[in-house]
Symmetry: C2
Subunit: 395 residues, 2 copies
Amino acid sequence: MTVTLASRMQHMKASEIRELLKLTERPEVISFAGGLPAPEFFPVEEMKSISLEVLDRAGRKALQYSTTEGHAPLRQKIAERMNRTQGTSVGADNILVITGSQQGADLTGKLFLDEGDVVLCESPTYLGAINALRAYGPRFVEVPTDDDGMLIPDLEKALAAHPNAKLLYVIPDFQNPSGRCWSLERRQGLMELARKHQLPVVEDSPYRDLCFEASSLPSLMSLDRDNLVIHLGTFSKTFCPGLRLGWVTAPKGLYEKYVLLKQGVDLHSSTMSQLLLDRYLERHDIEQNIARITAAYRARRDVMHAAMTREFPAGVRFNRPQGGLFLWVELPEGIDSRDVLAAAIQRDVAFVPGGCFFPNGGHHHTMRVNYSNMPEDRIEEGVRRLGSVIRSFLR
Amino acid sequence: MTVTLASRMQHMKASEIRELLKLTERPEVISFAGGLPAPEFFPVEEMKSISLEVLDRAGRKALQYSTTEGHAPLRQKIAERMNRTQGTSVGADNILVITGSQQGADLTGKLFLDEGDVVLCESPTYLGAINALRAYGPRFVEVPTDDDGMLIPDLEKALAAHPNAKLLYVIPDFQNPSGRCWSLERRQGLMELARKHQLPVVEDSPYRDLCFEASSLPSLMSLDRDNLVIHLGTFSKTFCPGLRLGWVTAPKGLYEKYVLLKQGVDLHSSTMSQLLLDRYLERHDIEQNIARITAAYRARRDVMHAAMTREFPAGVRFNRPQGGLFLWVELPEGIDSRDVLAAAIQRDVAFVPGGCFFPNGGHHHTMRVNYSNMPEDRIEEGVRRLGSVIRSFLR
């Protein structure tokens, strides 16, 4: 067949790393590669009784088409929880239920981006967002970050160099891939610049609730006085990813556009999934579920950090995230983490080479390491093997 | 806020008719407007036992992330059923599970269309596909149709006028909105031209299984010898739309591109929905379910057609579809069905004005009338009211 594809398909390549990681699906592999929640905390028993209740009380409704915006009581609950936990003041009419927050990145690209438009983002940033937005042909301008988030003077320089930038995409809480959490000052600094430039800010927030500290920092949406922030949320990390439910919170004006685009891409998200989640939120305390998950991930983070401290040779840097699923490792420059992965797979341990999180390439000495999906003894063993592999590269 | 949206948003307008139809959601309205299946045939009781089984046996898996391609046993079953009922020879590795076949239209636009590219389609065609594809900025070239499908000499002329056309989008079986079914000759004629021009053909096939006659005509994919046909299927009409499950069948080469794009837009479709459907297909005979639905829709089609014959004044033409959900009405030219709808809503009856199914406008004397979602007595009463409204316009 000699058919002609859209020109955007030139940028859309299957990742070599994804192919490599397919080799890690064997059960004997200790995988720190995925971003999977720990399935032992999925409320399987609760879901059984809830499934029966939903089908008994609203079976025909649960199995029928429904509105693009989403199940109204669920939207109400999402708005109330955001207002309660983040101090925002949004209503159900700002909430669009979507098929995982990944869909929010796609809809955002569709809404804002023409070919060649500039998207400002953290360096590194979330691979899934890069892939979603890349279909719309933008130029990514990476803004340097440190452990406290984006460097505000660098953001200012980037805005001066790209005054027509269309979007600022950030993950302020326990970022994927770096695990970093932005300080209050950086959040305020970003919002000040966004206001000055009237630049829309996409706050992707999948990990915010998985906070190992006593209290969270304000979300960007809660700091917004100009309706510039679009907030993407998800139940994939706090409930069950297999239901594919997330949400967009958008200011009026933009909200209706998201609905219009969502209708074109899949009409609406699963009615059954929405009714199951809505019933779960009525019958059970999701905060308690989140507390259980967070405690387990904190313990795993501790085990992983301690093991790295023991097992990794001098010259390897790694952080100690205050929440989320990921820890970020920097090898000495010159060591390519793709080679390290190839060697690690031979030892039945895996991670994601960090280079793929930099939309403009480079940074191949970095690694993203997940600690949420493996029990503590496997984390210890995996880090031991990884340390030995890394040492072999340092010789 | 004075943010700048993507230029595509200029074409993406909320439909006035959609706003009007919101007025028809009152329970007293007899609505022939939607394309909703009859919920009384949803297998609610079966879904209860299946939900328990899935959660008992594979609860953690059902609630976890899964692969973009879809649940492997489900893909296998879809391929086998296509081969059995359509005589195709596809494998599980041609099947991508998607979030309703609507998503297939979006992914197809993303895969093939650059701004200004020509899409050839039936006149009229499916509104949801127009909306999905429009986001990619194509020019729609409508090819005239009659009761047997697209007029092949007109397709030939269109191809001569637009030799760089990118896609041919058609719904050969019981089309939305017209209810028409293409004859074998037209199907063969289309495939001959597609072959000659090496033009990809999207066969959107949501209604194929709802056939009121003894046997179906060959699908385009079964006639394809050149890997030119992409087939979109769905379980929304034969099982439950609320699970949001459909599929793309694509030839190798294109298949991998669809997977890549699907990963960017929502990672994968609901694992829970997929496992429920897979278990349903194992435990129950979906052919029996389809037979029950089809018998009911055939009876409703009969009732609606008889009522229109009785109630509609001379000069109004309507067809008698051999399958699917919709019947197509042509009022005398000069009568605008949008005005008829406004008057009909006053009498608590609704339909969709046909103009919105023509991507380039016009044809406002046409109407799409759904018969699947109302019981027979309401169909009779609704057509009676509609006849009286139409008569008032003919005076």
